[in-house]
Symmetry: C2
């Protein structure tokens, strides 16, 4: 019904929900009732992990630098990343969409397509949600997952190695490039910049990597706000000292990050520590249990606080991202 209306005319709530119901239809046997009743009805294993995340236009995303489909996809991946960081297998999702009066049918199609793709990648059907109007787009995603031994932020222990799983810094570098508004050159540098920009525009939650962790041995947190903040959180919640080794972290950087950051005259370490939105996993565990793909970037010690070592004198990690700061 959306298609037959003018491009700038919003379909009715009922018609819009119907388009989502069709787009998100699933044959998953765990879904007894999907979109369309007062609530979804599900047959799920226990224990469950459960998270909710929001992405608000003008706060978490800016449409100068993202298509609306990219914004919708990122919002889903950010919630999914919380499930990944618990070491859990995603099961299903609800999506709540806030739509501004300026919304167009093609924007709504792009949102549907992006959410459907993200849900399929995660094998997590969207089984319900809500639609409201409001002063801008807003994507709220709540996900359920299953895990036998949840991987907690409070489980880092002295003697653990500190691990990075997945690249960090690229998303922050990509966003910085977009903010400076320059056109990427051709060649290797251009490809490096494009990859950083894509890392920010189209992140992917590390679900498979999360499943390689085990809550009886490992701790983990996802890198949404930058490594500085995540190291401090791990330290506080586990009651340990987190030592991040700057040299080891630099050695883990993607060569394309080095290239793109150099062109911006920025230290890639800054993007890794404070950029955020990478959705890598910061984890810890005994050396003998290190999963494939995990890079050692430091160690867990007795004590408190998060410190950067191996870059001259040890420095306390501060700063990072406060979602309420203006």
């Amino acid at each position: 019904m959306v298609e037959r209306r003018g491009a700038r005319e919003l379909p009715s709530e009922g018609a819009l929900i119907e388009t989502f119901r069709r787009a998100f239809a699933t044959k998953d046997p765990r879904v007894r009732v999907g979109i369309g009743d007062d609530a979804a009805v599900l047959e799920l294993p226990s224990p469950l992990v459960w998270t909710i995340d929001d992405s608000v236009e003008g706060v978490h995303f800016d449409r100068r630098w993202l298509t609306i489909g990219q914004a919708a996809g990122r919002a889903f991946e950010a919630a999914l990343s919380d499930v990944a960081a618990m070491g859990a297998k995603p099961l299903c999702a609800l999506s709540s969409l806030q739509v501004p009066a300026s919304a167009t049918a093609s924007e709504l199609r792009a949102i549907r397509a992006a959410q459907r793709s993200a849900a399929r990648r995660a094998k997590s059907p969207i089984v319900g949600g809500n639609v409201t109007r409001g002063p801008g787009y807003r994507f709220t995603t709540t996900l359920l997952g299953h895990v036998k031994y949840p991987v907690l932020r409070s489980a880092a222990r002295p003697g653990h190695e500190l691990w990075l799983i997945g690249p960090v810094g690229m998303a922050g570098c990509g966003r910085c490039w977009l903010e400076r508004g320059a056109t990427p050159p051709k060649g290797a540098l251009g490809r490096a910049i494009t990859r950083c920009v894509r890392a920010w525009q189209e992140p992917r939650a590390r679900v498979e990597d999360g499943l390689s962790l085990d809550g009886r041995k490992h701790s983990a947190i996802d890198v949404s706000d930058g490594l500085a903040t995540e190291c401090r959180t791990l330290s506080r919640q586990s009651g340990v000292r987190v030592e991040l080794d700057g040299g080891a972290l630099r050695a883990a950087f993607d060569p394309e990050l080095l290239l793109a950051a150099e062109k911006l005259s920025e230290d890639p370490l800054g993007f890794a520590l404070f950029g955020g939105e990478d959705y890598a996993l910061l984890a810890s565990g005994p050396a003998r249990t290190r999963p494939k793909g995990a890079r050692v970037i430091g160690a867990i010690r007795r004590g408190s606080g998060a410190v950067l070592v191996g870059e001259g004198r040890a420095r306390l990690l501060r700063g990072g991202h406060d979602h309420l700061a203006s």
Copy 2:
């Protein structure tokens, strides 16, 4: 930490989450990990019902007529009402809060207190959530519940009685009174008006009534948008004709609604059909299975559409509330 700051200064995200973590602490043995990790970890029975609902300042509520605590409480009850309408027992909740830059510490305290009260009444601890800033307050609540035989919108059958469980029209009448801005008089009329205003400001989801329904025999939907819309939805989703009997509905009206509507020179039937936000339950089932407290207000027939009978000639029910309409 909130208390020690200036009244108009917003605490940091971490400090705010800490106040919520303390306020919502629970000893519920089903909650293995509550607020503070990437996701909550829960041991829950299956099948589950799962819903999400949003309440956006300037769209769903207006602070001229509601305290911020009332707005937060209503938002929780609206989501809870979806669980009730499935005949499910609520289990636990996540709460996502959008906070404007103008927020004060006392507003945040009132929100916490209202959400904690609503969660306690529902025996549904708030086990996690999210905090973001944005252009106004916004409350998003997602709830999980447990039900053996979910009560569906698609289960109305020809021969069923149509039931109303709980009062309708009072919330719409109360809101109308607030919009007109008059001061309620003293005496019986004043008390009637105050009760209608309270019905709108402080609704209560009908969880116990929902539990009296059985998905093998009954259909149900909650009255959030007004009886006209809910009758049409029941008709469409069950493939039946819903006959709403105006006389029987009028006989079910609370005497205080009649008094308050008369003073406004409004037909209370209009508030019941189009007012919404009552969170009564509209249900159906065979006469011999009618639960205590259910009033017969019509019948389910073969055919299609929702009609109002017993008020002169039968009329198709139209109109109601579209959440996307401006």
